[in-house]
Amino acid sequence: MRHEIMARPAATVLKVNLDQGESLTCEVGAMIAMSSGITVETTSRQRGGSGGIMKGLKRMFSGESFFLNHFTAQQPNQTIYLGPSLMGDVMSHPLDSATLIVQGSSWLASDPGIVIDTSWQGFGKALFSGESMFWVKCSGTGNLFVNSFGAIYEVDVNGHYTVDTGHIVAFEDSLTFKIGKAGQSLIGSFLGGEGLVCKFEGQGKLFCQSHNPPSFGKLLGPKLRPR
């Protein structure tokens, strides 16, 4: 399987070449275009694996769809184009018996060998991190494709690192985070518009998104026709 990420960082698409018999598991609705020798199968479970209704329900809580789409090439040299639903970036992250915790709705596609599960991060984070209530836990071996709003940048955390709420895309499970205040004083943090932030700890890779979707929504929304 070969892939190419094009038109970064706002109109990003993922182009994957599939050879006969190869398949890719994708978020529902992500397919833009493809060769005619690819077939799709929609299920609530991993390909050939575990899952079923409970996993499907858990995925729904994390902002993903109940179903997964499996695209399989029936002929040699087939291409498929995938894209997230909103403007934003796509990155590839190969896993080798490892786990990546991904913000709800940021999982785009993965090798059939990767298990997509849901992870609960506790009430504090659910309410204040500016992300979904549940997170998507991707583990196994193979390539993983994650999308964001805004451009994705990588931070190598070694000790401590602070991220504003709404800017987390994914992080390695060797990292943990807590909710805290941005400045020394809580009032100052709120007046400065930063309010609460996520404070990471540990050693590992963290992926952030450059823009925060609600900030854009709050600027654009009031100028639009009432609903």
Partner: protein, 238 residues
């Protein structure tokens, strides 16, 4: 994506800021003209005269309206010497130049930005195919001998079809009329009789192109953005 620097039959142009906020700059010599849809001029030299009007008679204008375009077409003329016109569509997205050589190009509703002399632009009723595509019953049809610029939401990718290609209906921007198309549901679902994919798989209606020719697809669909912005809109009674 790279800047495009090229020429129409007689006018040099440049497409910059691709693919997210693409901008078209044309350099006109004294007396030269270019036409555009309304509200897309971002800036221009003071030597340029802008005039709004209808073009191509009643039938063509009506066709364009059914194709999601305005009744009005703006004409920019380099009246008092050479000068530039900069066009920026309202849509965040990409821009493509296409040269018509007595052939026909079909475009999705609202995709037209600008054209040069020699191009005929009207709407074309798609019949039942259009009804199922969910994207409007009328496509824009450009023909003649000249140059046309069309725009999208998201980046535009060009796909050379040599046999068959499948595109989700919400991502089609334009295609050459040498291609045949039909709206269908995905192959695998028909074979396995799995209607589930159609209803829950989200990839419901696709357009199957066949023949030889080019299609241009956009990398984002508009509807998810409109649903995303919905909760940020003001409510009616306040």
């Amino acid at each position: 994506m790279a800047t495009v620097e090229s020429m129409t039959s007689d006018v040099p142009f440049e497409i910059t800021q691709r693919p997210d906020f693409a901008l078209l700059t044309v350099q006109l010599e004294q007396g030269q003209k270019i036409y555009s849809e309304p509200s897309v001029m971002a800036s221009m030299s003071p030597t340029i005269l802008m005039k709004a009007g209808m073009k191509g008679g009643f039938k063509k204008t009506l066709g364009r309206m059914l194709g999601g375009e305005s009744l009005i077409i703006n004409t920019f003329t380099a009246q008092d010497g050479p000068g530039e016109v900069v066009f920026a569509p309202g849509t965040p997205g990409d821009l493509v130049h296409y040269h018509l050589d007595n052939n026909t190009l079909y475009m999705q509703r609202g995709a037209f930005l600008s054209y040069t002399d020699g191009v005929d632009l009207t709407g074309k009723w798609q019949g039942a195919k259009g009804f199922f595509s969910g994207e409007g019953l009328v496509l824009l049809k450009a023909s003649g001998n000249g140059d046309i610029f069309f725009n999208s939401y998201g980046a535009i990718l060009e796909i050379d079809v040599t046999n068959e290609y499948i595109v989700d209906t919400s991502y089609i921007v334009a295609f050459e009329d040498t291609l045949d198309y039909r709206v269908t549901i995905l192959e695998g679902m028909k074979l396995g009789g799995k209607l589930k994919s159609f209803f829950f798989g989200g990839e419901g209606l696709v357009c199957k192109f066949s023949g030889q020719g080019k299609i241009w697809i956009q990398t984002r669909a508009v509807n998810p953005f409109l649903s995303w912005v919905y909760p940020f809109r003001p409510t009616k009674n306040n």
